[in-house]
């Protein structure tokens, strides 16, 4: 069989691409359940971290950003929500716990960020996160006033404060109007 140059090129490239697609599809099928599990575990541990009284959670709405924390007897112990906004180098995504009755935060966990290692990345450290525990949501949320800032990472500290300040009213509105009842 004598296939001319161009046709052979097209056929070889097509075969290589098809085989590659097949191999990738199989790999994806194999790793997908495990990746879903990892994502779910991350979400769960973040929610339970920010709502220390909760032992399980249920989603409010269906966009994966607002959750009801429940204790063993299915009593609501607070809400957890995803707060997201610009940091120093990229988007900071956090899980925030809030007690709606007492209008207090119950905790904060960083889900992902691209802050500078050793400086802005310290928003993940316990002493920084801990200050949002039992913080009233009516506070002004200004770094270096009511929020302790990280030395050398003022922008990251400001960013966290601003994200919280901007997200909380939206979440409350969504909670009260939405599936919060």
């Amino acid at each position: 069989m004598n296939i001319n140059g161009s046709a052979r090129m097209v056929i070889v490239l097509a075969i290589v691409a098809i085989l590659s697609g097949l191999v990738l599809a199989l790999t994806f099928q194999w790793t997908k359940p495990r990746m879903d599990q990892v994502a779910e575990e991350r979400l769960k541990s973040a929610i339970l971290e920010v709502l220390s009284k909760a032992t399980k959670y249920e989603e409010i709405g269906n966009d994966g950003t607002l959750f009801n924390g429940l204790d063993e007897d299915n009593n609501k112990v607070g809400i957890a929500f995803v707060a997201q906004g610009g940091g120093f180098q990229g988007t900071i995504t956090m899980m925030i716990g809030m007690d709606v009755q007492s209008r207090q935060l119950t905790g904060m966990a960083v889900l992902s960020h691209l802050e500078t290692p050793g400086l802005g990345a310290r928003i993940e450290e316990d002493w920084f996160k801990g200050q949002f525990n039992a913080k009233s949501i009516d506070d002004p949320f200004i770094a270096r006033q009511d929020v302790d800032a990280i030395t050398g990472a003022t922008i990251s500290s400001n960013a966290v404060s601003n994200i919280l300040k901007n997200t909380i009213p939206n979440v409350l509105e969504k909670y009260e109007s939405g599936g919060g009842k």
């Binding site: 140059g5 290589v16 590659s20 191999v23 990738l24 790999t27 790793t31 990892v38 500078t116 050793g118």
Partner: protein, 203 residues
């Protein structure tokens, strides 16, 4: 023995990082901690070995004019496999390396070995060459990671090695630290190495 020679050359004599100055992008970008350097090195090692073997196996079937696209597809396939595997089984490492895993596709060490070696040699030799080059790349990245982590954080693989009085030099885990460390290491290696053959380098 030829096979052995092809393996051993990548470890030192033709080390991708210290001798050929290839693959500088991951070398500089992800070595801010020992574990990141090691993980990046191993991911690259995996892609390099697999793609070299495949390229060497099908070298006769690929028309000359489309060999580069074919190599890139093969490399990209293994990179994606590595990325999915890390995401599923080592999610924390995948989170840190993030964007740099897909960028292994354009690591010139891999295309360089496919083009310069695997496409001209038997499967056995190509595999040995890739193993050597991959291991050489891995130890180089791990060494950079260790040095930068010790100076920048006072730890190695997250284990504290410096005393409490040690003040970490944050600059070593920031981008400039990569250039400083690599520059000093290259200087030391060139001083102690008798052969000063300057190989062609890409980025």
């Amino acid at each position: 023995m030829r096979t052995w020679k092809e393996f051993i050359k990548g470890l030192w004599e033709e080390n991708a990082v210290f001798r050929q100055l290839m693959g500088m992008c991951p070398t500089l970008a992800v070595t801010n901690a020992a574990i990141n350097g090691l993980a990046m090195g191993l991911a690259t090692f995996f892609v390099l070995v697999c793609s070299s073997i495949i390229v060497s196996l099908i070298k006769k079937l690929i028309p000359d004019k489309v060999r580069i696209p074919c190599y890139i597809i093969i490399i990209a396939t293994f990179v994606t496999i590595a990325d999915l595997f890390l995401a599923a089984f080592f999610p924390d490492i995948q989170k840190v390396l993030g964007l740099f895993i897909p960028l292994i596709v354009v690591n010139c060490v891999i295309l360089g070995r496919a083009e310069a070696f695997a496409s001209k040699n038997t499967v056995g030799l190509a595999a040995m060459d890739a193993l050597g080059m991959g291991l050489g790349f891995t130890w180089a990245l791990t060494l950079l990671g260790i040095i930068r982590e010790v100076l920048g954080m006072g730890t190695v693989f997250s284990i504290q090695v410096m005393g409490a009085s040690f003040t970490p030099w944050i600059i070593f885990i920031l981008p400039p630290g990569a250039f400083l460390t690599l520059g000093v290491l290259l200087g030391i290696i060139n001083t102690f190495s008798k052969k000063k053959n300057t190989q062609a380098s890409c980025h």
